[in-house]
Amino acid sequence: MRLLPWEYAVRNLGRSPTRLALSMAGGALVVLLVLSAGAFVRGMEQSLRVSGSEQNVMLLGRGSEESVERSEINPAAGDLAFANVDGIKTRAGVPYVSPEVHMMTELHEQRDGRPLGVALRGVTGAAFLVHGQARVTEGRAPEPGRDEFIAGRMAHTRMGVPADRLAVGKTLFFDGRPWTVVGKFEAPGTVMEAEVWCPLRDLQIAAKRDNLSCVVLTLAPGAELADVELFATLRSDLELTAMRETDYYSTLLAFFRPVRAMVWATALLIAVGGLFGGLNTMYAAFASRVRELGALQAMGFTRGAVVVSLVQESVLSTTAGALVAAAAGVLLLDGLAVRFSMGAFGLVVDGAVLATGLLAGAALGVVGALPPAWRSLRMPITEALKAS
């Protein structure tokens, strides 16, 4: 089949700058929507995937494997695990064993002020050993008995307040008294970054509990999860479950699968709406060129060759719009903080998301051109040449 020159398709784009701009804008909007959906899903997946470490094992209460906030375990679990499990990592004699309390609770801006939802974690100094992704970037770690917090870099997003509200030195109310933010930490790409941490004992006193939510321990190289599972079995009186931290967050990822599916379904529905709008534009564009298309056929080009050229035009315009959308996505969406039930995460516009967006733009160009192109070529050549 002899195809029309590529230049023919390109030159035709310039025949109606307004129509070209509208096609590009339509394509850009649909692709931006696809990029937003992809960035949201990718960000959520990465946040939950990176939050866990393969080296870390969590000891949780039996039956609470899907929610550390609901878990309650014996406060001695950490010490017992260290005494009985071979292969727990240590540094200068300090074991990588982090007893923790996790709570979804509320802080207040003033004593009786607006409640701010927060993921609060009570920790000891070992938390910064075990959670290697966490690093103090400003100020210092909080000290026990002094009503102090350290806030994650994205904690303000989770709480719905400006970033400077959690600046070092600011005060928030918890358990009816003021607590001071003494530091900020980062834990890039993890859910920890949206949390507020405080000394374990202080949180236990405020929450009137002496048990723990979990113990997170780090295995030394060569150590095995099976030894921790054995400990949990031998001490079944403690009612513990041992699982890798990565497996815990994988469970949470599975929990959010319906949310991710809903996001994609919404994006698809709106994209289909955009497609129908594009079809309309293309019908009008091709209908006005019936005589020209008839002339091309009279010159010897097959219907197929003409369809290919029309699809080239459409794909060029939508792909150009897709490139604009991709650039906007990288500049505006990448890293944008999004709040969700577990905390907050940043949108991720990476290679996979960009490829999806660009492919969506190309597909829009193909699908949006085929029906109008074929409809415009249905007329016999003699009728087409007489068309006005």
Partner: protein, 183 residues
């Protein structure tokens, strides 16, 4: 037109580089966090561990817990269960529950997917013992027992062995020399 082609290709290339750079960074940060926790080679189960017939004079878990002390030779009878994973992966150890305690499977109308966890019985830990097969170092062998001799959750077992060292408050530990799984 050539200029437009070049512009489009340049823009596409820039986006690919940006996207791949982001992918590489994410991949390397994940790999940096992963540790080499490869399993050690499995040890063999001792020959003669699985018994063709149940040893005589078996007692229930609760009866043994009430009277036995460290070092006593015992023959224990029970049902594999007590948690979602009663048979430890990669280690020769499993939990048994006294036969008098009903599993979820024995409760009419219960549709529990893991009836061997005895979730319907809040005090199951008081009627549980741990059976382990130890090596010369006194530690459980680095091999799983699931499927060995038909061992599975809710299987009725008779275990011959010696009462091991048990921490205060912890369930009874039996170092098994023979295990019979009721077929």
């Amino acid at each position: 037109m050539t200029c437009m082609k070049s512009l489009v290709l340049a823009a596409l290339l820039a986006l690919i580089v940006i996207g791949c750079d982001r992918d590489d960074n994410a991949a390397s940060s994940q790999q940096g966090g992963a540790a080499a926790t490869a399993s050690a080679p499995a040890e063999a189960v001792p020959a003669g561990l699985i018994l063709a017939s149940a040893p005589g004079e078996a007692k229930d878990v609760n009866a043994i817990k009430a009277s036995a002390k460290e070092g006593d030779e015992v023959v224990l009878r029970g049902r594999v269960g007590g948690s979602i994973h009663p048979i430890v992966d990669g280690r020769a150890a499993f939990q048994v529950v006294d036969l008098s305690v009903k599993s979820c499977k024995e409760l009419p109308g219960d549709t529990c997917e893991t009836p061997w966890d005895y979730c319907c019985e809040p005090d199951v830990a008081k009627s549980t013992a741990t059976v382990q097969v130890v090596g010369a170092d006194g530690k459980p062998l680095k091999t799983g027992l699931k499927g060995v001799g038909g061992l599975a959750p809710l299987a009725e077992v008779t275990v011959k062995g010696k009462v091991g060292k048990t921490a205060e408050g912890a369930p009874l530990v039996v170092n098994a020399t023979g295990i019979h799984v009721k077929g």
